[in-house]
Subunit: 292 residues, 2 copies
């Protein structure tokens, strides 16, 4: 090796956080290029302006993370990432492997919702389940929505594609589907419905030995916009008003309870706190901790 | 291995960022517990209140990073960390090794200043140079200060300890000391004096192929306080007024030039942009990039 040559690869995107007896590991799936014009609701141009004005150098890339839970002898994943759609995403399996786990080890996959950047990683290129032993857990309303023929018929052409992909995943895991409402799915782990972005959009609340972490899905897509402007929305919120209400409710809960949060689309390692700031909130990233 | 047991270690704290032809790698040395009471100037209690109010959950730990530069066939380190003072710091050597480099490979060590959390990592427990082939580069005023008998005589007992440690390091690297002012020390790498925290406190400006990065030392100790309140200070600024002036100048420069920054005490991986915000600034972390 030329000792001064460019490194061949970035180190693995893995960061462990102990929540009482449960170890939660953020696993970076990658980044996906998006556009503010496509994503932010057209009735909120001021938010984009403010973002571009203050965070002007931030590129419009969306971070995608998954979270691994080691909990009571079980391994659970929250979401499964985008799969290898581009060279920039699909890192979940490499990072999972680097934690010492194999796909056969995963007992449960806790879905925040069934959009492609969260569920495409469930299947291999042949459409087979990548996690052969995992139960796929989603909110009962999420399962009903993606199976709803009327909903699919009234969807845009692009959204129809989401239905097709979601149904493929539901089919591949068809004999081990499990629905959740607000019950515990593992000791200390339970669903917190946050409907709006999708009808069964779900955050997962992890509590152990007096500590807690709330892992959310698409409560925040753009940290630079939506903490400060929680009323802003994105084009693919299925019910924008409900999505805004869910965002406000979750941010208020996290700030009031001073609970740590993890977010699928927060910048890796994606752990931190929510603090009130002005008329909105700000994200306070958890310091990078060198020990587990 | 019990597949669901707690991971034995956190992954390495290494993140690469390409600046044109130069690869800059943030290497986490660790975290060091401090106290807001000790550190923030007693004439700025409002800043601490604001920090504790908004970032109330952030623990008073100081991140310590070093930066490795691969530049024109040479390897350079910016600062050498605290050494294994506690179980929480001294990670530099492990992280350096994990990049594929050995201590003998380091050609230059570019010091921001000679405080113990930046220079203790230069020496092994026997007081010998850990980097046997490295030139130690510091600003000529920094070198003069730590060798100044009058300055040491007038220092507090605690600060006298800093003089003793700095002199040990200067002695161990005595035959390969090199002073810098504003000249290039490597192609595309030059010193930017930021005096105040120490008399020869120096940031390092890295420019290559139209891209740039400014790596600073103790411009910011507490990201949650000093971006928003650049007039706040710390007890161990040797010249507080000059330190505040340097902070204002550097933050204004970074914001106006839209230049990326890296900071020894910014949360790992410690790369981002500075944006104006209210009467101060805010830090916009660089998104975690999965490729080099």
């Amino acid at each position: 090796m030329d000792r001064a040559s460019k490194p061949a690869a970035q180190p693995n995107g893995i960061h462990h956080l102990a929540i009482g007896e449960i170890v939660v590991s953020a696993l970076n799936d990658g980044v996906h290029q998006v556009s503010f014009d496509d994503l932010v609701a057209d009735d909120h141009p001021a938010c984009v302006e403010a973002h571009l004005g203050e965070h002007r150098a931030a590129p419009p890339w969306l971070t995608i993370n998954c979270f691994l839970l080691r909990c009571g002898g079980k391994l659970a994943l929250i979401d499964a990432g985008f799969g290898p759609k581009t060279p920039f995403v699909g890192g979940l399996l490499r990072n999972l492997s680097a934690t010492g786990a194999i796909t056969e080890d995963i007992d449960l996959i806790l879905m925040t919702h069934m959009h492609p950047d969260h569920e495409s990683g469930l299947l291999d290129p042949d459409g087979k389940a990548i996690f052969p032993n995992a139960e796929l857990v989603l909110h009962e309303k999420e399962l009903a929505y993606w199976r709803d023929e009327a909903a699919m018929a009234s969807a845009s052409e692009e959204a129809k594609g989401d239905f097709i992909l979601a149904r493929k995943a539901l089919s591949a895991y068809g004999d081990r589907l499990r629905t959740a409402r607000e019950d515990e799915v593992l000791p200390g782990v339970r669903a917190m419905p946050t409907p709006g972005h999708t009808p069964g959009h779900t955050a997962w609340l992890i509590e152990s030995a007096g500590d807690a972490l709330l892992v959310w899905g698409d409560i925040i897509h753009f940290p630079g916009i939506q903490f400060a402007f929680p009323g802003s929305s994105v084009a693919f919120d299925i019910d924008r008003a409900a999505a805004v209400a869910a965002r406000n409710k979750v941010l208020q809960f996290a700030a009031q309870e001073r609970i740590r949060v993890g977010g699928i689309h927060l910048d890796f390692p994606a752990f931190g706190h929510v603090a009130p700031s002005g008329s909105g909130y700000r994200f306070v990233p958890e310091i990078w901790w060198p020990l587990v």
